[in-house]
């Protein structure tokens, strides 16, 4: 990806300015704008970091430090869908290991990897705070609750 292809539309730039104006120091909008950038460009490459740094008059090093600190920014291309299985305590007690094992087999990938067809990235994550419906996982924006291997299969079928 070359730097010139990383460019928000006029409308998106207006949204960046609106977000920056919400904070006493426009830097406060850095996380929200990085979310926007990830939505627009798919993932946060070094070029994206540099572009966002320019929009905030920050050093690319500062933006890089921020991007690498948080788990929700992807620093390499991700699949069309992200499946994040919770493996914290309550999900562990409800069989998260079985769910994760089942997903690995079904998708044929290890945790952290994307299927060769680019369909799904599989992650294991810490408590998503829906422990009352464990085991659970997040599929893109959605929480999928009370999982069983059969339910996981049905969910996977719905992902194109």
């Amino acid at each position: 990806m070359t730097a010139s292809r990383v460019q928000f539309s006029g409308e998106q730039l207006a949204e960046v300015r609106r977000l920056q104006a919400l904070y006493p120091d426009r830097r406060g909008a850095l996380l929200p704008v990085l979310h926007m950038a990830q939505d627009a460009f798919g993932w946060v490459s070094l070029d994206v970091e540099e572009y966002v740094a320019e929009l905030f008059d920050l050093s690319p090093a500062h933006v890089h430090e921020v991007v690498t600190f948080y788990t929700l920014y992807f620093r390499q291309p991700k699949g069309r869908h992200v499946v994040a299985v919770c493996h914290n305590l309550s999900c562990h007690l409800a069989g998260a290991k079985t769910i994760l094992g089942h997903l690995k087999t079904r998708l044929g990938v290890e945790v952290g990897a994307t299927t060769p067809d680019g369909r799904v990235t599989l992650l294991a994550v810490e408590c998503l705070c829906a422990c009352e419906r464990a085991p659970m996982m997040q599929v893109d924006d959605r929480y999928e609750l009370d999982l069983t291997p059969e339910k996981v299969d049905r969910i996977l079928e719905g992902l194109r």
């Binding site: 830097r27 979310h35 921020v66 007690l93 705070c129 009352e132």
Partner: protein
């Protein structure tokens, strides 16, 4: 024992998140009342209520508000901690999704008390649906004229980092930095977000405020114990028949919560241990659950009320395996700023893993206990102490299980 549902009174209504439903059940009446009160009188009412912070630390809310410097003339900020991430806790998710206007009304009242013109609501990045619900409520509140007349609300989304739940880490993150906690003092009430006096409160704490103003501090205080007023929302999960969120007086006992509200222990039906306040709270054994769930009751029992996330384990659960899961979490989430925290969480995770995998050595348990104790109380934030609680309590209370794995 459970008494009246206050925070959860509308949860069964399918439209509970809308302004219409909120107003139809008396919503925003407390705000009308508060507008006729002096800011100091609002703070006094909250002090009288014995409301204590429900995010984790249990600090008295009215007292915290009174720390805003008196002569300060610049901006003051109200920051709502909706970064819910403490393992075993899910109450704020319910409040954001099912009663977002209660939080907004509480924010209006709190902002008047501390003279804040701007409120930030920091919602964890993974909470997409709760964020949409809350954001829609904010737009309704602007359209209805509650917001935008002297008080504005900015909804801010996090990006995945447990440590941003710690109030100074949250502030760093809100300022567009990595979420590194800051040394206290100065406390946020003196120098917080963007260098200005800032009050950070949890979602549930602030959602109580309209009811306190509406019905009086004394009423709220009487619902709880001598040193903590009110009800709170308990998140119950693990091996129980009816996992879920339950509102009850803070004077309820852990046994009542597990047996009467959550339907009792499942698995083999016999309790082994319970984490009473989120994963950072030291574990209790089956014979230690006749304690009240208020801040001081649990402190006297050697654990903490924390976020009121109750995780139940029956006799079939392996405690070493549970500790492995917990230790992995702390190793993963340490922000890396303090040496004892960064190094110990990593090493202890590796040692617990070695024990669980049958490669443990005789001296490992004492080494873990020693390493854990040494760093306690020496770090910038309470994250590390929150890790030490489980390390020590799991091993001290269930040492035979660990030893059995090592002897194999």
């Amino acid at each position: 024992m459970t008494g009246e549902r206050i925070l959860m009174r509308n949860f069964d209504r399918p439209d509970s998140h809308t302004l219409a439903a909120y107003r139809a059940t008396g919503g925003y009446a407390a705000w009308a009342k508060a507008q006729g009160m002096e800011p100091a009188a609002i703070t006094e009412e909250v002090k009288a209520s014995n409301l204590r912070g429900l995010g984790g630390a249990g600090f008295p809310t009215g007292t915290k508000w009174s720390f805003i410097p008196k002569g300060h003339t610049g901006p003051v900020y109200l920051v709502i901690n909706a970064d819910e991430g403490e393992p075993g806790t899910f109450k704020d998710r319910y409040l954001l999704e099912r009663d977002p206007h209660a939080l907004l009304e509480g924010m209006l009242i709190a902002a008047r008390a501390i003279r804040a013109a701007t409120g930030f609501v920091y919602i964890r990045g993974e909470y997409v649906e709760p964020w949409r619900r809350f954001d829609a409520a904010v737009r309704e509140a602007y359209d209805a004229g509650y917001l935008g007349k002297g008080f504005d609300v900015v909804v801010h989304r996090g990006a995945g980092a447990y440590i941003c739940g710690e109030e100074t880490g949250l502030i760093s993150s809100l300022e567009g930095k990595k979420g590194w906690p800051k040394v206290k003092p100065p406390f946020p009430a003196i120098k917080g977000a963007f260098g200005m006096p800032t009050i950070v409160n949890n979602v549930e704490t602030i959602s109580h405020v309209p009811h306190i103003i509406d019905r009086g501090g004394a009423w709220f205080a009487a619902l709880g114990t001598r040193t903590q007023g009110g009800t709170r929302m308990f998140s119950v999960s693990g091996r129980v028949a009816r996992p879920g969120v339950y509102e009850a007086s803070v004077a309820i006992t852990l046994r009542q919560l597990i047996d009467d509200l959550a339907g009792g222990v499942t698995g083999n039906g016999r309790l082994k241990g319970v984490v009473p306040g989120g994963s950072s709270a030291p574990i209790l054994r089956a014979d230690e659950i006749d304690v009240t769930m208020d801040v001081d009751g649990l402190r006297n029992a050697g654990t903490m009320a924390g976020s009121a996330g109750v995780v139940v384990m029956d006799e079939t659960v392996s405690i070493p395996e549970a500790l492995l899961v917990v230790a992995r979490f702390y190793a993963h989430e340490s922000c890396g700023q303090c040496t004892p925290c960064r190094e110990s969480t990593g090493w202890i995770y590796k040692m617990v893993r070695r024990i669980v995998e049958g490669r443990g050595r005789k001296e490992d348990l004492d080494t873990i206990l020693d390493v854990a104790r040494r760093g306690a109380g020496t770090t910038i934030c309470a994250f590390y102490d929150g890790a030490v609680g489980p390390y020590l309590s799991y091993i001290e209370k269930f040492r035979d299980e660990f030893e059995a794995l090592i002897a194999k």
